[in-house]
């Protein structure tokens, strides 16, 4: 039975980490290191496929398995094991993680060629896959949290991979620290949520918690706080308002890292967690509204910032934040399957876009500013066409994968009655199409704005282009697992995930429903909006570049606000970071540590010294004084004995 092999699949990347980490610096062959690194993930992917097909062949009631390996904590009422839950949701996530992960590992062999930290890179990547697999396969909150923290650690290690490089106003290390610290704030929320769960349900095991939860009724305030706390954790990990500020800075890391961690996998951990706890969220309508609201607000905010960015990776970063907002919008209106569908398709086309940008950056010798690019399509055809496909997918053009998933979310939003949110989502889709087309056009089309004598861009090697092609194919056909009923499909992915969300759906107050005709109208609207955005961008940036420049000067203050990302970083710095810094320095350090703590620590010896200096005077060195004391003692003791 392939289910038992799950342990191999999860721990094989850890083995890869250990081998590459301990011996990597001695292995001189990059091919071998790359082989070990990619091979472990590839085998994990094969096992995941085997498990998936075994599940497909089994009847629906028998699809869920739990494989327990070792008891981790067993004290009192808390029982937590290294146990992995194989159900439809976790296997889907595992396929995404190992599949896309494998492609990115292969890509990295070409991308990181010649880097002195080659072995370190693959070691960290393998460690990341291990942590991520623990996260998605865990059968209890604590093991999930282990993976949660693990991916945060790997994100830190990989963002700061080139640790001696400058990045914007600081170093890559500063960007890594920012990511870690902001994540920590989210983790605080996650922990509070976990504590509340344990307090209320007495266990951390998913099955037990959700079974108990499904007996409760909607409107419980503890569950509301619990889910809000959990969602805070999700905003940290998945870069939503208010904790999204780390993701643009995370672009300091190598491009495969951005593709794997900050596009396809780690940032979807928050989405996965909310989906996994769907029944808890369904019991708290307030939280669901909050999630949907924050999701769509983030989507709009990030899309607007992405309009005016000039760094190729920054645009993609804000695009990721924006698309994550869509996923949360789907979750927030009760369309859990739709949200996860978008996770899958987003993994395909966003990884594709990032890897493509990596290919461009390599060819342009580390140049990342799109204002210095242009006309690259004749030098890098494969990169160009795959990038173009990715752009179409993210803009939601029929029949690519992005269309099906994004449209599903927007339809479910509309049909659950949230017309305002649907409207904002539609505007966001328009912006998405526009800025992605802008990016593509400015990078690949038009006139060449780079120095032809110094730069000779050429196509990347096969290890880099093959994954691009594979991801492009997936971006095209990946949507066909979710063709909705209105278009004649069976929405296979929603059916596949239905057993996981059954409990949640039974609690939802207004479950999404709808009539067919409206759905067609909305579909046409979203495709139309996408096509408009692309056409407008191509027209402006290819043939009429003076229009965007004129708009930028006319709406100068707005343009600056967008370009400076609404000054959110500066706001946080002024309101939170600097006060804490000043308080720590002026009070905690100078007063508390120096005066009080050191005072006590130094004061105790001083006190002892004081007493000793008094006590030593007894030692006079004259024998007769000692005799005197003896006599005195004898007299006193005799007196006491007589008194008795």
């Amino acid at each position: 039975m392939p289910y038992q092999l799950i342990g191999v699949a999860v721990f094989l990347p850890l083995l890869g980490f250990i081998i590459n980490g301990l011996l990597g610096s001695r292995i001189k062959s990059e091919r071998l290191i790359g082989l070990i690194g990619s091979g472990t993930v590839g085998i994990s992917f094969a096992i995941a496929c085997a498990i998936f097909f075994a599940m497909l062949g089994a009847p629906v009631e028998q699809r869920s398995h739990t494989v327990e390996y070792v008891r981790w904590i067993s004290t009192g009422t808390l029982n937590v094991s290294f146990a992995y839950q194989l159900d439809q949701l976790s296997v889907l996530m595992m396929l995404i993680v190992t599949g896309v992960g494998f492609l990115i590992h292969v890509y990295s062999i070409g991308y990181m060629h010649g880097d002195p930290g080659f072995w370190r890179f693959f070691a960290y990547l393998n460690l990341f896959i291990f942590a991520m697999l623990n996260l998605v396969m865990a059968d209890n909150f604590l093991l999930l949290f282990l993976g949660w923290e693990g991916v945060g650690l790997c994100s830190y290690l990989l963002i700061g991979f080139w640790y001696d490089r400058k990045f914007e106003k600081g170093t890559t290390g500063d960007a890594a620290k920012k990511a870690f610290i902001v994540n920590r704030i989210g983790d605080f929320g996650f922990l509070i949520g976990m504590f509340l769960i344990f307090e209320m349900f007495g266990t951390l095991n998913f099955n037990d918690v959700f079974a108990q939860a499904s007996t409760l009724s909607v409107g419980n305030t503890t569950i509301m706080w619990m889910t809000l706390a959990l969602f805070l954790g999700a905003t940290g990990k998945s870069a939503q308002i208010p904790l999204f500020v780390w993701l643009p800075d995370a672009m300091a890391g190598p491009t495969p890292v951005s593709a794997l961690i900050h596009a396809a996998t780690m940032v979807t951990a928050g989405v996965y967690m909310v989906a996994r706890c769907s029944v808890l969220f369904a019991l708290a309508p307030v939280t669901m509204t909050v999630i949907a609201g924050i999701g769509v607000a983030t989507a709009l905010l990030a899309a607007s910032i992405g309009l005016v960015q000039n760094d190729i990776k920054k645009v993609l970063a804000y695009s990721t934040v924006s698309q994550l907002g869509y996923m949360f919008l789907g979750l927030g209106v009760g369309a859990f399957a739709a949200g996860l569908f978008h996770v899958m398709t987003h993994a395909f086309f966003k990884a594709l876009l990032f890897l493509g940008s990596g290919s461009v950056i390599h060819a342009m010798h580390e140049e990342q500013d799109i204002q210095n690019m242009g006309g690259l399509k004749k030098y890098m055809p494969i990169t160009y066409w795959t990038f173009f496909v990715g752009m179409l997918a993210i803009a939601g053009i029929f029949p690519l994968s992005g269309f099906f998933s994004k449209d599903e979310i927007l339809w479910k939003t509309f049909s659950s009655g949230q017309v305002l949110l649907w409207g904002m989502g539609l505007v966001g889709a328009a912006l998405t199409a526009f800025y992605m087309a802008r990016l593509t056009t400015l990078t690949f089309d038009g006139t060449e704005r780079f120095d032809h004598h110094h730069l000779h861009p050429h196509e990347s090697p096969a290890t880099m282009t093959v994954p691009l092609v594979v991801l492009a194919v997936l971006s095209v056909i990946g949507g066909f697992v979710g063709v909705p009923h209105s278009l004649g499909g069976s929405n296979a992915i929603e059916q596949w995930l239905e057993p996981v969300f059954a409990r949640a759906h039974s609690k939802l107050l207004h479950a999404p429903h709808g009539e067919g005709a409206v759905e067609y109208v909305l579909m046409v609207l979203s495709v139309g909006v996408g096509i408009t955005g692309i056409w407008l961008a191509r027209r402006w940036y290819l043939s009429k570049p003076e229009i965007p420049k004129m708009l930028a000067t006319r709406f100068g203050p707005l343009y600056n606000l967008l370009r400076d990302k609404y000054k959110v970083d500066e706001l946080y710095d002024a309101v939170i970071v600097t006060p804490i810094h000043k308080t720590s320095e002026a009070f905690l350090w100078k007063i508390f540590d120096v005066k009080i703590v050191d005072g006590v620590v130094n004061g105790v010896p001083k006190l002892i010294a004081l007493f000793s200096s008094l006590a030593r005077k007894v030692q006079t060195g004259i024998a007769q004084s000692y005799v005197f004391v003896f006599v005195l003692g004898v007299v006193v003791i005799l007196g006491i004995l007589i008194m008795k």
Partner: protein, 101 residues
């Protein structure tokens, strides 16, 4: 009135206190030793008196051991005094106060 235990004990107490006073007031280290021997002797007398009046031999044996130890102590003590005198040329106890704080 005949001689009984309390007489011996009283005598021994008197000798002991004379010894203590001697230790307190004398300056010469060797005379100090002699006063200490006087104190030891008074204790010996107490032990012997108890032994005779209680009929237990342990007291006398103890006296025997005390004498042996006193001899050893006197020998070593006087050796120390001699060696000290060679360094400091004095046996005045007020000046033998090196072991102070």
């Amino acid at each position: 009135m005949n001689v009984d235990l309390s007489s011996y004990l009283g005598l021994s107490a008197m000798l002991f206190s004379i010894g203590v006073v001697g230790v307190l007031v004398r300056r010469n280290v060797i005379v100090l030793f002699m006063c200490i021997e006087l104190m030891l002797n008074s204790v010996n007398l107490t032990l012997a008196a108890f032994s005779s009046f209680l009929g237990d031999q342990t007291g006398q044996v103890l006296v025997f051991f005390v004498m042996a130890v006193a001899a050893a102590e006197a020998a070593v003590g006087l050796a120390i005094v001699v060696s000290f005198f060679r360094n400091k040329q004095t046996v005045n106890i007020d000046e033998i106060n090196i072991l102070k704080w």
